[in-house]
């Protein structure tokens, strides 16, 4: 059995999306900026894709700007809002502790450039409180940026409430919706956001394509200078084939969403119930306000990379917030922000289900994870001390 349970990292491209993009690689490969018909055909496909994508999130086509992915969209959204703010002398930004690094590192950079950033804490379940957002907004706040759903622990944030607060207070609102678009119902009008970032490969589209929604009237700052593509906001020849595939993948994901979400929620909750039976294990994130595909646990006394490699041996692809998997000494900032101590955060496991997940796979994963946890605890000095009562269990 091989189970790809890392769909929050990336997804397999949909067959329809692959088929949709192929002609634009082989046949209609012209540059959309060219005047001859080969180029114009590509241009038409590009604008058609823009229209279809806009429709899927309740936007106008002219409000969609294609980027190289979610990270670029996040960077551009935040930098643009900061530039708008700076012109009015507003240099304060409100965000939260569990944002993606594409947001957090951009904010760090802006701090070095003289902006002030308030990073709100989250509840132990990983929720940003809209009342905290309201309280943090000041006279000089130019932007609130809060993600729609968290990539690690899957919590869905109250972005409609936050959007309403921002509108009332006259502050721009950006949401990193990379994990949400194509997975949960989402419309920019309902959220009331000014800027929204998305990434195609998270919803069965290709890697290297993302888009930024910018509400009419919100001026974008180009990050890349050059040609006049994307109405002067993003230079560089458009990834036509990738963009066409993105539109197809998104339409497909949105059409299937009601059925997929219902099925995945049942499987997710079955997996959560099964893993909860492992002693001294705990679910990370909110049990209900959660992406349909996301399961994230901490297991006391063991380390995440070891879990992943043993799962890989048994045909399960997953991820962890342990330091060893992040390339730094610290475990996931998200797990630390929800109050998991360092040692416990190292022992985390994220399983993100794919649309084709089955009950049989879920039961297999519960069995294998239980065995792996027991095996690793068998020679863990941390576990021995916990069992001997020398140290106290946290979970």
């Amino acid at each position: 059995m091989y189970i790809y349970a890392d769909n929050a990292a990336t997804t397999r491209m949909s067959r329809a999306a692959v088929e949709a993009m192929t002609p634009y690689l082989t046949e209609w490969y012209g540059n959309p900026s060219s005047l001859y018909s080969l180029g114009q055909r590509a241009k038409e496909a590009l604008e058609d894709a823009r229209e279809r994508i806009a429709r899927m999130i309740g936007a106008e086509p002219r409000e969609i700007f294609f980027t190289s992915g979610g990270s670029e969209a996040d960077n551009q959204a935040i930098r643009s809002a900061a530039a708008i703010g700076a012109k009015k002398g507003k240099r304060h930004i409100v965000s939260d502790a569990i944002e993606h690094h594409a947001v957090l590192h951009t904010l760090k950079k802006l701090e070095q450039e003289g902006f002030e950033v308030t990073l709100l804490p989250v509840t132990p379940a990983g929720i940003v409180l809209s009342s905290d957002v309201e309280a943090a907004i000041r006279e000089d706040t130019c932007l609130v940026t809060v993600m729609a759903a968290n990539n690690e622990i899957g919590t869905i944030q109250p972005i409609k409430e936050i959007g309403e607060i921002c509108r009332r207070r006259g502050v721009l609102f950006h949401t990193d919706a990379v994990q949400a678009v194509g997975h949960i119902p989402l419309s920019v009008g309902e959220i009331g956001c000014d800027l929204l970032s998305a990434s195609a490969h998270k919803f069965h589209g290709p890697k290297g394509v993302g888009f930024l929604y910018a509400k009419r009237g919100v001026n974008l700052e180009p990050l890349i200078e050059g040609g006049a593509q994307e109405r002067n906001k993003r230079a560089g020849t458009e990834n036509v084939a990738g963009i066409v595939a993105t539109a197809t993948a998104l339409e497909e994901a949105v059409a299937r969403m009601p059925e997929t979400a219902k099925r995945l929620v049942a499987l997710r909750d079955r997996l959560i119930a099964g893993l909860s039976k492992i002693p001294h294990a705990a679910l990370n994130g909110d049990p209900a306000r959660r992406l349909p595909s996301n399961v994230n646990f901490c297991f006391e006394g063991i380390e995440g990379e070891s879990i992943l490699l043993l799962l890989d041996d048994r045909g399960i692809a997953a991820s962890s917030g342990s330091a060893c998997t992040s390339g730094s000494l610290d475990p996931s900032h998200v797990l630390l922000a929800i109050g998991r101590p360092h040692g416990v955060a190292h022992g985390s496991l994220r399983l993100s289900l794919g649309e084709d997940a089955t009950e049989e796979q879920v039961d297999y994963m519960i069995g294998v994870v239980s065995e792996v946890v027991t095996h690793l605890r068998g020679f863990s000095p941390v576990w021995r001390d916990l069992v001997a009562g020398k140290t106290k269990f946290v979970l």
Partner: protein, 127 residues
């Protein structure tokens, strides 16, 4: 390319000398939970020879493999040889470790040195 060598994976999947020696002559522990690696080494020493060695490790695959390999390298050897075990020797015996995982082999070397220090503390006559 795989993350780790076959040897690392072998020692990770089937760690040698796992466990505890209840009446150990020397015990060494290094690392901390914060950084994500803890190693504990137990030694049984008789007539200046490492008669038995066991380990417990909390950490990633390279930490487990490093401790497993280190115990193999010193088992049955004179204490003087165990004392001179280097992290480089551990890493080489594992057919190499990724650069950012070399600290795991350092931990293994330190854990053994700590255990031997503990042994000398408990058995000053052995010095």
């Amino acid at each position: 390319m795989a993350l780790y060598s076959e040897k690392v994976m072998d020692h990770f999947r089937n760690p040698r000398n796992v466990g505890v020696i209840e009446d150990a002559d020397g015990v060494g522990e290094v690392g901390n939970e914060k950084c994500g690696d803890i190693m504990k080494i137990y030694l049984k020493i008789e007539n200046g020879i490492v008669e038995d060695v066991k380990f417990e490790t909390f950490g990633c695959a390279s930490a487990v493999a490093s401790s497993s390999m280190a115990t193999e390298l010193i088992k049955g050897k004179p204490v003087s040889e165990a004392l001179s075990l280097t992290n480089k020797a551990v890493a080489e015996a594992l057919d190499g470790l990724p650069a950012y995982k070399m600290h795991c082999s350092v931990l293994a070397e330190e854990a053994i040195k700590n255990a031997l220090e503990d042994y000398y503390k408990k058995h000053p006559e052995a010095k």
